[in-house]
């Protein structure tokens, strides 16, 4: 790999200050995307600011009706956490579907949400649950956070410290994985709250989004059958060798129906 500088701060303030002092830096969380990307020189930061030593970014905690996950919480920790299993079992299920075992021991929720890969799993949960992304300087609503392909509301140097997820009454996540990479060709989380049903979709568009047509149908009738014939507009959907935009739109309906069935059975 090409040469770069490496820093390992122990606090959020130190991390931000190292970032702002460097020429073309990047934060390093689990590294499951960043390191392979750097090997291919698709990204070439001059400096890496490794966040593994920042204790304030660790931990899984339930606070009343919220589940609070430190940004550095690894996928395997979420998948196996008793606290998560009690609060939002669908989130533990989702975390256990990311990549493979080795990837889940390294990758973090903060890294996934910061990168906003269109096929990442966590963004579906962040939007479906209406989570708040807490950074070193502000709290960003999930409705404002995901903006476009690999584009978020994060400003240069701004870093995610924790993610706060409202606990739904019930939720379920289904994905159609790419058989080689396990990334979501399409993934759908359906979450039922006291005041409505929220549907988060990943994989289909440039970034995760709420599916309003599905939410309206499920608000009236929370059954898989209620989604039959509901229009899923595919304008702007991703199209590649794995799936056309039209096929992805079809998969959104299929995954949503399966998620609703799982939710009702939970």
């Amino acid at each position: 790999m090409y040469p770069f500088n490496y820093h390992k701060p122990s606090s959020v303030d130190e991390a931000v200050s190292l970032f702002l002092d460097a020429e073309d830096p990047a934060y390093l969380s689990g590294g499951m995307t960043l390191i392979p990307t750097m090997k291919q020189r698709l990204a070439m930061p001059t400096d890496l600011v490794d966040l593994s030593g920042v204790q304030a970014m660790r931990g899984i905690e339930r606070q009343d009706q919220k589940l609070v996950l430190g940004a550095f919480t690894r996928h395997a920790e979420v998948a196996r956490s008793e606290v998560v299993a009690q609060a939002i079992p669908a989130l533990a299920h989702l975390a256990g579907l990311i990549g493979d075992n080795q990837v889940r021991y390294r990758g973090t929720i903060g890294g996934s949400v910061a990168n906003s890969d269109p096929a990442a799993d966590y963004p579906a949960a962040v939007v479906a649950l209406g989570a708040e992304v807490v950074t070193n300087k502000r709290t960003i609503s999930s409705a404002d956070y995901f903006q476009d392909l690999f584009e978020t509301a994060l400003e240069p140097g701004e870093m995610i410290v924790r993610i706060e997820l409202p606990i739904p009454r019930r939720a379920a996540y289904r994905k159609f994985p790419n058989p080689a990479s396990r990334y979501a060709v399409v993934g759908v989380m359906v979450a039922q709250f006291d005041n409505g049903v929220q549907v988060g979709v990943t994989g289909a568009g440039p970034c995760a989004f709420r599916a309003s047509t599905l939410e309206a149908a499920l608000a009236a009738d929370l059954r898989p059958e209620a989604l039959a014939g509901v229009d899923i507009p595919d304008a702007g959907f991703n199209a590649d060798l794995h799936a056309s935009a039209e096929y992805r739109a079809h998969l959104v309906g299929v995954m949503a129906r399966r998620a609703v069935a799982d939710l009702l059975a939970s």
């Binding site: 040469p3 770069f4 390992k8 392979p36 291919q40 493979d100």
Partner: protein, 153 residues
């Protein structure tokens, strides 16, 4: 930069550059060549080692990330005359053809069996998703892992 890393129980203080990968430390500096580099893109799992008790792909861990860590490689789990139960099971079940993926398969499989309450055929196949056998010899690998899991139960 200088890092300290414990490998197979022995502590090493090493001078490395920031772009050094854990697998290069193991193979090039410590000459532990049992850990293989297959794809170098964190897909194939041939480079799997245990880092602080978890199976990870050592081609996707930087030297600085391994600073202070404890690493176990295929050389650290058994000896020729005293095989680890997983190594013995791979031999018993003929769970290898060319053998290139074997060190990574064994390290991933040990982690899987240690951390799973119940494993069946499907769970083993899912648990080894991060390891690719290019000879496609999965059937006997799964049988070997299941035999160790059953012995543990």
């Amino acid at each position: 930069m200088e890092i300290t890393v414990t490998v197979n129980g022995r502590s090493h203080r090493l001078d490395v550059s920031p772009n050094t990968l854990l697998v290069d430390i193991l193979r090039e500096q410590l000459r532990l060549t049992g850990t293989h580099v297959g794809c170098d893109t964190s897909q194939c799992g041939a480079c799997t080692v245990h880092l602080n008790g978890d199976a990870v792909k050592s081609c996707t861990v930087l030297a600085g990330q391994a600073d202070g860590a404890s690493v176990v490689t295929i050389e650290g789990i058994g000896a020729v005359d005293d095989l680890h139960p997983m190594q013995a099971a791979f031999r018993e079940h003929h769970a290898l053809q060319c053998g290139f993926c074997t060190p990574g398969m064994i390290m991933a499989a040990i982690d899987l069996v240690e951390k799973s309450d119940h494993l069946d055929d499907a769970a083993v196949r899912e648990g080894l998703e991060g390891n690719i056998c290019r000879c496609t010899g999965y059937h006997n690998i799964v049988n070997a892992v299941l035999s160790v899991a059953e012995a543990k139960a």
